[in-house]
Assembly symmetry: C2
Homo-oligomer: 278 residues x 2
């Protein structure tokens, strides 16, 4: 496994692999890896012959009041985990490698970026699309794997790839959960013991919604209101709970097979997201 | 010469040329070609082994009050001219090929896009960088040639290429002028006989500024005021006349070798731009 900090080395190493006819797979991450990330790496390893993983806590996707400084990091552990997975190349750039002085270019997917998480995190997705496009240009992958926990992110990136005519296939990996159902997230480490326990209500409420749908319920408002109650009863502060179309992310009028139930909820200062497909 | 409307064919044809080891040169244009464009094509032909020219009047770089509808077009003549120049591939997409329904992704270079022409044409450069990035992704050129008449555009695109880690070399070609000094522009066709005659003052004022600098003048304000007077005396309505740094496009405090004098002036409804390097 190669472990490099400079974009120009990534370009060189990947170009060599490509010359040998290898398909390039890529998993961009912010590090502090958990089983969710590793499941994406395994997908990339299955679909490609040369796998690149990036570790970069991207400052442009954090708001001024958000957790950029406290975001957990453990480069040493990440390195060990990725080596075990058989990753070929790890890119862990410094901030100035990605955003040198005078950096001024930003990419934005309109509409999709200003709903759901985009409401309480203005500028977040602009930061995501900008860094992802840069990483795509550096790595030049054939296939990129994103997790379905960040569902909105995956939809936005697919839109960007299509709009900008990039020759990249976006693949998504399913949500990996703790035994009690909580979706894995680097941010789970922020939770107190009590918050961690209460946070299990998120998945419980999503499973409940899916059961309600299976039982014949079609009114999204009824389901959403009930979910809000469940979450608030366990001390969660709801940012949003919505029933949306998987592609447009617009609220649905009636629940149907494939409707996405998405939520973002604070436990204390920690903001968690999760979703389920009906 | 191949002449295609679809991005996927461009990708295929260029990929074949690249497989043969050819360097790909590209000149993006809005068509209605004049000697200025053709001089850029000749640069591309000299520096590359496979030359692509695009003809696309890009709607996203026109403001709602601007001349998108009336912008001159002559595809037949453009085709003949490009064939004569030995161009390998001409891409002339429909609007929906570049911006299909649901298109939502925009690229912006901050700071540089909101000064000079960006003041009176808000959103213009965002449209330019968006379409240029798309065209870059479709054509995947090694070298791209832009004209120096649109100096700000070239600076912005160089910034974008650097910021987004694109593997593209940007080359600029010098301004081509009519015999009386007026910079060639597709928009010159809008001018009445009288306006066309008066518009020669633009280059005259730039040459005058250069002479003033050679004669020892270092105060930009004195030069700019004088140029404004010259232009207004011939019926030009000044949008801006500025003395700026070539790289940052920021106003200079004292004139120095390499200072860029830039201007945008209306004659009637026609907005013309020009510049000179001291």
């Amino acid at each position: 496994m190669r472990f490099v900090k400079k974009a120009r080395y990534v370009k060189k190493i990947v170009a060599q692999a490509r010359k040998k006819g290898k398909i390039i797979g890529f998993v961009p991450t912010m590090g502090y890896l958990h089983e969710g990330h590793l499941s994406l790496v395994r997908i990339a390893r299955r679909k490609a012959q040369f796998t690149v993983v990036s570790l970069f806590v991207n400052p442009t996707q954090f708001g001024p009041q958000e957790d950029l400084q406290s975001y957990p990091r453990d480069l040493k552990r990440d390195k060990i985990l990725l080596k075990k997975e058989g990753v070929d190349l790890v890119f862990y750039p410094e901030r100035t490698e990605i955003y040198p002085e005078g950096y001024s270019t930003y990419v934005e997917v309109q509409g999709l970026s200003t709903i759901l998480c985009g409401v309480s995190r203005p500028g977040h997705f602009r930061g995501v699309t900008t860094v992802v496009l840069k990483l795509f240009n550096i790595v030049q992958p054939d296939i990129v794997v994103f997790g379905r926990k960040d569902f909105q992110q995956a939809v936005i990136i697919k839109r960007m790839v299509e709009d900008l005519d990039l020759n990249i296939k976006i693949v998504t990996g399913k949500i990996v959960r703790e035994k009690d159902g909580l979706a894995m997230s680097s941010r789970n480490t922020y939770l107190s013991e009590k918050e961690r326990e209460n946070a299990t209500v998120l998945y419980q409420s999503l499973v409940w919604a899916k059961k309600a749908y299976s039982g014949g319920v079609r009114d999204p408002h009824w389901v959403i209101d009930k979910m809000r109650d469940m979450i608030e009863n366990r001390g969660g502060k709801v940012d949003y709970v919505e029933a949306v179309d998987q592609k447009t992310l617009k609220p649905v009028k009636h629940l149907y097979k494939g409707t996405l139930i998405v939520l973002a909820v604070y436990f204390g200062k920690t903001r968690l997201i999760d979703n389920i497909v009906l």
